[in-house]
Amino acid sequence: MALSKARRTGGLAVLAAVGLALVACAPPSDSDSKVGESGTVKVGFLSPVTGTAAAAGTEMREGWELYWEQHGTTVAGTKVETVFEDDAGNPDTALTKAKRLIEDEQVQVIVGPLLANTALAVSDYVTREGVPSLQPVTAADDLTQRKQHPLMLRAGSYTGSQMNFPGGKWAYEEGYRKAVTLCPDYAFGWESCAGFVRAFTQAGGQIVKQLWFPLGTQDFSPYVTELGSAGADIAFVATAGGADGARFIKAFNTFGLKGKLPLLTNCCLVDQPTLRDAGPEAEGVYSVSYWAEGRDSPAVKKFVDGYKQKYGKIPSLNAAGGYITAEVFAKALEKLGGKAEAEALIAAARELTFADSLYGPLKYDEMNNPVGPVYIRRVEKNSDGEYWNVVVKTYDNVSQFWTFDKDEYLKQPPYDRNNTGL
């Protein structure tokens, strides 16, 4: 008994010594070659397909795939091959999948992920590996502000505050002077409300109350009650998509506020997932966003019809983000003659201009963020009896800094509970 124990301890000691000796010399590293086989470009596509953001992540993927189906996967003689991974909406999973895509699959470009926390989790790693990334949907302000990086371009969405600034201006122009806001209590919500608040107060409006609801709120009745008794003449409400939109609209209506309290919402509260579930309840609701599926434009029509034909439903903002990112990638790749080289790809994408993209006339600023129109929309029923958002007013050339000076803007801290744009 004692003998075998001693033998064992001895064995371990020898192993430890060998181990230490080995550690002194580094093992062979992977033969990483980022250029890949000639004639093919590999794209790593990260989005949540399981978990609470499953619907959004799936739609983002569908938008991307639709573009390639409509236009073919060959660009300037190079074939585009996409490898899809599920990040489950979890930052740790997203990082592991990003590692797999870059180290194992040797992709040359990363597209996604969707949720801001997952995007932030992978961005340090991805940029350190020298891989460019295109963001289709993430609206986190800082990705193109304080945490901007030359290898990252926000291709398919606007920042959280950028997409809501015009809402504040519109509210004032419509004659409203006192607003109450309700936004989710995390970064996206803070940035969304801040966008509205800054523009509304800049025009001369007053914010009477600010409400915040925690993520995962099941029950909006307490908030709706508060909105009703706040003494405001307009309510600005933002959600991050998912179930919140339908839950909010139903609560808003059943508590009798429909028609009594004017409402302006953000992009996602009345996005297609909400309208598929609560279309009739949401009819007539005004919202502000860069995407309007009911906009009268050939680019939008081609996308919406194609998507409807393939998936049987009207595309949401996430699908649009996936589609337009594919378009940006394809056009940038074409400019480069089929060679997807890190900084060159991002630079080529940044220099693109669109006369009429899915979002309208679009270009990118020097921080790799889009500049383009933002629409005030209204929920209406289309000729097929389905609900969608049509444009009632357009604000052109909206940048992520609104009318403020870029350097002054960046000196301020990011929006949070204590800095809400007031």
Binding site: R8, T50, P91, T96, K97, K99, L120, A121, P214
Partner: protein, 314 residues
């Protein structure tokens, strides 16, 4: 008796040798980092297994302790502190959080212990979200670079392996010590032990503290592995998966947490690439293990080996 010890010991030593050799076998960097992830998950599972196996206390909130350590390191890095300060802070935070866990739960047992720890984990999760000035809220904290000397994937892999081996050895020693005997006595019958004069609550307290320290170590390695931390590290899913690893491997077995961690991490990461319905597969694996290998994979294998040996002897 001697033969059995040597055979299973040899298997462990062989496994260890293989683990040490992995980076030199031409394995891709991704798989090395995946293995490191398995070791870190195993470390957390070991901490849960210690309480579950030795004391019969299943904690479904241990990810909260690990995450607290992760956040301590993350916050410290963002304040510009050096590595020694980061570690000291992590240690301090781990001790405080473990003490809170211990004080709140030491007078409970069985299902109540499970529920209390679940709630504690959710409180940590909630704090991670709410104290956004400190914790970065939903986005968490980034830029948590590894210390020099372990920053390469293969170097970090060895760090995780080394920590896991050391902890497992330490716990093996504790298990064989008088302290371990008392813990198992408490598991078997609290009333008997207290009538024998042992302060059950005090022993529970220390056991939870030790387990908490291991969880804290897992937290530090975890934040260095990912180079960021976010609230999901403290969430219910992470704690539940850890418990699943322990039970899959075999509660109370020495190798169980490692085996369980391997299965779960592999399913979560490698299988999910090829199969969209991987949660269903994970669920089915659990069900099969529970029904046909109720002592867990390692536990059932060990029992089978013992059974076969006793039969050959007779």
């Amino acid at each position: 008796m001697m033969r059995r010890l040597t055979v299973s010991r040899l298997a462990v030593v062989a496994g260890l040798a293989l683990a040490i050799a992995v980076p030199y076998l031409g394995v891709r960097r991704y798989y090395i980092s995946l293995l490191a992830l398995v070791f870190i998950a195993a470390l957390l599972a070991v901490s849960v297994n210690m309480l579950a196996g030795q004391m019969g206390l299943v904690s479904v909130g241990h990810a909260g302790i690990a995450a607290s350590a992760s956040y301590a390191v993350g916050w410290s890095v963002n304040q510009g502190h050096g590595y020694p300060t980061q570690l000291l802070l992590a240690l301090a935070v781990t001790l405080v959080v473990s003490a809170v866990y211990a004080l709140t739960s030491m007078r409970t047992s069985g299902i109540f212990f499970l529920m209390v720890t679940l709630a504690l984990g959710m409180v940590v999760f909630g704090l991670a979200y709410r104290l956004s000035r400190v914790t970065g809220g939903e986005n968490g904290l980034r830029g948590v670079w590894r210390p020099p000397g372990v920053s390469e994937t293969w170097q970090f892999y060895y760090l995780c392996l080394a920590v896991l081996v050391l902890v497992m050895l330490a716990l093996w020693v504790i298990q064989r010590s008088p302290f371990g005997l008392v813990l198992r006595g408490i598991r078997d019958s609290e009333s008997r032990m207290s009538s024998l004069g042992y302060s059950v609550a005090a022993y529970k307290f220390f056991a939870i503290m030790i387990s908490g320290l291991v969880a804290g170590a897992a937290g530090v390695l975890s934040v260095w592995h990912a180079e960021f931390v976010s609230p999901s590290s403290a969430g219910f899913l992470r704690s539940a998966l850890t418990v699943i690893m322990v039970i899959l491997g075999g509660v109370g077995t020495w190798l169980g947490p490692l085996v369980g961690a391997g299965v779960v991490v592999w399913t979560e990461n490698a299988l999910s690439t090829h199969l969209e319905r991987w949660p269903t597969v994970l669920g089915l694996i659990f069900i099969i293990v529970v029904l046909f290998a109720p002592q867990g994979l390692v536990g059932t294998a060990a029992a089978r080996l013992r059974h076969r040996r006793s039969r050959t002897r007779s």
